[in-house]
Symmetry: C2
Subunit: 465 residues, 2 copies
């Protein structure tokens, strides 16, 4: 963790005074508040900011950034704090801008299938708001993340195999630049060829190029029919081969999730379920009743060819909700297998043809390690996750997890994959970008320098300058 070596400047009192004048009691320097804002859900070391500014509008964010720019003080945007690679850590101190009070749904254009929201709106909040419209926002990374944070980290999750990631589902962003200027990256048209794709540049930039304050996202009609199923397989490779053939057959499956036997044992215990303890796929199908029936039959037949047995259907909303809650609780369930442990989560993504091989080699590696781990994956995209259940008081466990992670990333890169499919870079995965991007990393650095010459926007993340 080279980040700990970064020098920190003490906070400038005149900056704090100016911010207090702007925000009154919505500026906090309380130790507990600062500590909370330097920490995400990852194993990475927390770094508290010097102050937390609770913003209520784009204009306020612009004023805060402008003041910080004047004092060359770092600015880190903070949404729900659910990032997994240390994205919110204030490595060089400075001001954390808390977006949670920017939580208004500004406009829903049902006829255009889009909504414009403030960055602090969470995905569950948006879907709750949409309840009577027949529409929904599909991107679901598990955590109830803020939409601004999800855009900033290019989040995806279980539905991405059908609906895409934040990359495909953000139409436009309002962004505060490093000097406090406000831009809108695009209009509401579904497509445009009018200049550089600034929307996609800011999606996934983790607050290092600008602070996202509002976003327009795509919505979808709630499918007429939804069906979910669970199916256990003799081996992990049988499960993965089922996924590969399903995708190649063009079945528009909405979700297709892999859980290994350790993870199944964990969720059975944690969520009091009685699934077979074996490599298992969770499926969800969306469409017309006839379409869902057709998809289900096709997949069932593919699964049967790979020894998939015990197809259990969840057709009522309640059964489905229980099923996916168990999937979303996988992380906590895994931790509960080793009381007192802390989770060390990581993810990679490879071309789907290499997925079985990548998972097999990774599992062989894990089998030789004393650290317990569980594997889950959004396997329709070639994306899978590991969580190590480590004892945080044992430094050798941290270094062992780190070694296994290094090896998994190297394996994924050798298979034309990426060091992270959806968790992002933060400061946890910066060291892999040289191997992944080569010379292209220098282009990222050039862009960072051009848009944030004083390096005040979330410094020490993605690219070092």
């Amino acid at each position: 963790m080279p980040a700990t070596a970064l020098r920190r400047e003490p906070p400038d009192q005149s900056l704090l005074a100016a911010l207090r004048q702007l925000l009154d009691d919505r500026l906090s320097t309380a130790a507990a508040i600062c500590a909370q804002h330097g920490r995400d859900e990852s194993y990475h070391q927390a770094h508290a900011p010097d102050a937390v500014a609770f913003a209520r509008s784009t204009e306020e964010v612009a004023a805060i950034v402008e003041l910080c720019a004047l004092h060359k003080t770092p600015v880190v945007a903070f949404g729900a704090g659910t990032s997994l690679e240390g994205q919110v850590a204030a490595l060089k101190g400075g001001v954390s801008i808390d977006m949670t009070q920017m939580n208004r749904v500004l406009q829903v254009h049902a006829e255009d299938l889009d909504a414009t929201v403030e960055a602090g709106v969470t995905r569950k909040q948006l879907n709750e708001y949409l309840r009577d419209t027949g529409l929904f926002f599909p991107i679901d990374p598990g955590a109830d993340a803020s939409l601004g944070g999800m855009a900033a980290t290019r989040a995806s999750g279980t539905n991405a195999v059908r609906y895409g990631t934040m990359r495909e589902n953000v139409l436009s962003l309002t962004v505060v630049l490093a000097d406090g200027r406000i831009i809108r990256t695009a209009r509401r048209a579904r497509k445009s060829a009018a200049g550089y794709d600034l929307t996609r540049l800011f999606v996934g930039s983790e607050g290092t190029l600008g602070v996202i304050t509002e976003l327009t996202v795509r919505l979808y009609g709630i499918p007429e029919a939804v069906s979910a199923a669970v199916c256990a397989f003799p081996t992990l490779e049988d499960a993965v081969d089922t996924v590969i053939l399903t995708i190649q057959s063009g079945v528009p499956v909405a979700r297709i999730e892999l859980l290994d036997e350790a993870q199944m044992e964990a969720i059975n215990k944690f969520s009091k379920l009685d699934h077979r303890v074996a490599p298992t796929l969770f499926f969800e199908f969306h469409g017309s009743p006839a379409g869902v029936a057709e998809q289900s039959e096709t997949v069932k037949s593919i699964a049967a060819d790979y020894g998939g047995v015990d197809f259990r259907w969840a057709t009522t909303a309640e059964e489905r909700s229980k099923l996916w809650q168990a999937r979303h609780d996988a992380y906590y369930a895994a931790l509960a297998l080793r009381p007192g442990s802390k989770g060390w989560a990581t993810d990679v993504c490879v071309p789907i043809s290499r997925l079985a091989e990548c998972i097999r080699e990774t599992k062989q590696d894990l089998a030789q390690s004393p650290i317990p781990s569980a594997l889950v994956g959004h396997v329709g995209d070639g994306n899978f996750h590991l969580v190590f259940m480590i004892d945080p008081n044992q430094p050798q466990e941290i270094s062992e997890a780190s070694r296994l992670n290094d090896r998994m990333v190297a394996r994924a890169l050798a298979m034309e994959g990426t060091c992270t499919g959806e968790h992002g870079v933060g400061y946890g995965k910066m060291s892999f970008l040289v191997a992944e991007h080569g010379e292209a990393l220098s282009v990222m650095r050039t862009i960072k320098r051009a848009l944030d010459p004083d390096n005040i926007l979330n410094p020490g993340k993605i690219v070092s300058v």
Copy 2:
């Protein structure tokens, strides 16, 4: 056309000598060759380069760009020359890099549904190559454009409503930077959260940030069943309302194209067809046989509610091919209505809820003008095109077309739309970007300056620096 005012430097003889040493007879300064490379399919004034370099590899492109950088000489990439906003015009002279000899399909990963090709491969060539694999590349802008050019202009076309545009279908690019360095923007994984989205930054950058030399694109399984249909409507608004309801109902229609009565008259004459001369929709449905039947029934029922009559089906490959060839020939068919005329094509894109209004007001405007025009649209995306059939020898017709275009763009922008859905900016639409992007245009300029400090990459396009 402010571009004509640009100063041109004479070509540097030592540069030409160095290029000739590199390329031998693949460097041409012949007037006819240069003239051909300064011209696209648009009405914009052609600007010939001083020389044309026929490249055969990424390394050669890199060497050419490096030499040009040394001499601060402009570089314009040239694919099939089918752009529509003057993208290939060498406004400041320099070297056109002809990519047509870089036309190898490098790799097809059928199991991953992707292919890597050199930038000069055309979409038809790729689909021909894929014929025995059961896969296809769906993006179809009409012209048999090169895939490099399609990526550079962020092309889309008739299939975009279902399959997306080049934005969604390029996985990775090999790009030569302004100083001759070569980068690859991403790996082959379907998704990644590993840093800035350079792929999307170069897609749509029209050769102003780098020269695309290779690309990895997504492929799709050829649908088990395909069906197409033509349906005439009492009014243009009835047709557009049918589109809106179809999209809102979540029907995964593959193509949904609007042609106005002038355009229908034109294609009847040009393609010897006997369609009703009325606002008409062309549909195509992809899926399983049952799925296609279900989609067709849903759309037929929606159309009937809006007076859609005379549903004519094209189910054989031959009938469909005839139908879509007629659609693709719409531009030439429109020109044939006025012998000796030249086409003046433009496009805008608006949120679909504003589409009927935007088209209605535009048609009212056109009705009061003496210049004949025809309207076609990829209306499922909110995108439509106008072609004016102008007499190129009548300057007042050019200025009248220009006035109508200005008004249409202003109308689209007022409706939260964009000045171009798919033709791109080139030098034809630069003047609208201020109104469309405001302060965001300065971010585009900052990026351009950072990545091309000497402004040698397709200067005078998208942003002026």
